[in-house]
Amino acid sequence: MTPILQAINVRKAYAAHVALDDVSLDIPERSIFGLLGPNGAGKTSLIRIITQITAADEGEIRVRGQKLHPDHIAEIGYLPEERGLYKKMKVGEQLLYLARLRGLSRPDATQRIKGWLDRLDLKPWAEKNVEDLSKGMQQKVQFVATVLHEPSIIILDEPFSGFDPINANLIKDEILALRDKGATIIFSTHRMESVEELCDNIALINRSHKVLDGSVRDIKNTFRSQTYEVEGRGRLLVTHPDFEVLEHKDRENGHFYDVIRLHAGTSPNDLLRYLIGNVEVHAFRELIPSINDIFIRRVQETMPESLLETTPA
């Protein structure tokens, strides 16, 4: 199946620096895709190219295999990191205006606005000016504005910043509902832990390069380091030919906490068997790296290289 959105060797340079260098992505339909990376990595540049705010210098974006075209605007919903609405405009009118700019007819838009305002408890505020709303409510209005035209691709830049936990959950549920209805969601964030659990696929971007991409499960598998966390009681040998103790903590009453890495050819069951014969095991858990850890590792691996790139010879 063709991915709903593809970036092919995209390059974008500004006067002073290169924002994106040879970035390629495949974003499968009906998935949640995480576009991750630190501030200034190039995420927003890529999104602005996808939303046709700017154009790529080289390479191209394809929507369902088609080269990006102005008509695609109606298919994309974009919630920028910099949120903003017309402050002196009424909520209802503002939503109508934004929806019509994205190609919705007046009756269609009116009906959908009603539905959304009902769902997000904004109805009493429809006739109020945006400036009279609380920050959280403005965020909700902004979210509605993003998805009102039922785009098949929804791009959310730092989606949960500015929401309190209750509203963040509300929005999270709405996003999942949209995904279930067939939309493709792209999260862009530098706070990787906030979207890790939601994403099916991710791409890591650092210093205008794509560092890593793939499904979250695959990536985590690749980055498994055969490290296990053990808690128990008794005395544990510190050296062993099959594994290595990375960290050891003694606790009261003979309890201990260890982080153990298996050497190649050793299975977790081998370790467990050894442990059962020697100590009383209370907990045994594989240490799976978070996306954040993976990212940091990956960046550190590529760091010397990128330093070389930027240092004049």
């Binding site: 939303t51 700017t54 154009a55 920028p80 910099e82 609405l85 934004l98």
Partner: protein
Amino acid sequence: MDKIWLIVQREYLTRVRKKSFLIMSLLAPLLLAGSMVGIALLSSSSKTDVVAVRDESGQQLLTRLVATEDVKFVPATGSSLAAATEAFRKDKAKQDALLYFPPTFTLDSAAGVQLLANGNVSLKRQNAIKKAVNKTVGDLKLSRSGLNQSTIDNLKANVELSAVDLTQEGGRKNNVGATTGAAYLLSILVYMFIFIYGVQVMRGVSEEKSNRIMEVMLSSVKPFQLMMGKILGIAAVVFTQFALWAVLSWGLTTIAAPLLTDSARKSPPVAAAAGVQEASAARETPTADAPAATTATAAPAADSSPLAFLDGLPLGSIIGGFLFFFLGGYLLYSSLFAAIGAAVDDQTDAQQFMFPVTVPLILSYIVSINVIINGDPNGPLAFWLSMVPLTSPIAMVMRLPFGVPMWQLLLSGAILVAGFIFTTWLAARIYRVGVLMYGKKITYGELSKWMFYKG
């Protein structure tokens, strides 16, 4: 195109629905009508000054001082200057000043004359009195040299100059008052509205920028559409305002006219009032029988037609030209203002960039007044001012009432269109980069770089 139309609608409706717009639209014609009534009442109530005269020169000056419309002379009461002064003080309601001729006053050394009054004497009153005294003394001198009064009266020349415009059909009488008034009024309207609404465009853009709504908008529309939508929407607001003012001030002056006609016939109206009248009437159907126009008889000898003051003015080209050059100038300047709004982060930074935009606007107004109204409306400098697109919206509109050859109108119009296409293109290039640029100190060098960014 649909999107521009939506943006135009929003920009238009949000502004027209504002209370301030309504207040402006209602208040301005009220103020106009009110000030006209005020002027008419003031000029009608400008009474003849009564000047008490104490003559100690023995020249029988009091009997010879001739009363005019402005001033009338009565003998001062009291047997001395002090007594006269005292009487004048007590009786100040009836007398406006006390004129004193000392005993030393003779026809040959006409010095030492004093004018005593409560407070300052206005220059106009002083001049009227001085003129009367001069005439009297002059007449006395002439008769002393042996001329009798009828010879003296015969010697006086009373020349009336009547300028005729040969370019008009049948060489109609040239109506300088109305022409100058119209030139002032039209050009100040263009100047004010370009300024006020150009700054509104700038504010609107920088508001969108500081509201951070730009990115939301730009993911649905092109920067150019957003900019043009705003500029055109505000242009529609201006024309609505014009239309409202025209209708309202026409209506109000129609109501107010009966109050004015009497007093207005007596006193020539102030040029500005005449011009305002002219313009509001001109925007209406020129043939409409506007009784209000009778108040605006800039030509002192009012003709039978109420619209006589419009005689000799090329109305068609004035109305058409005004609308065209206003729109052209507005588009030209407001796109520059939009670019400024897009380039800066907040309004205070805008000042330094507004300077080069406002200077040609202000200069073209000031220079045009000197060159066109006070100089030669068809001279070479006037010609060039009305060709350069930065100055032509004001200069050409100022020239319109004096009559401008058609080829110049067309040429200037074409240059103006080319000019605003160029500035719009330029502004769009700055705009599209500027609107998403935050937290950067903008310099002219930076701006010029933006013009050559691609994509």
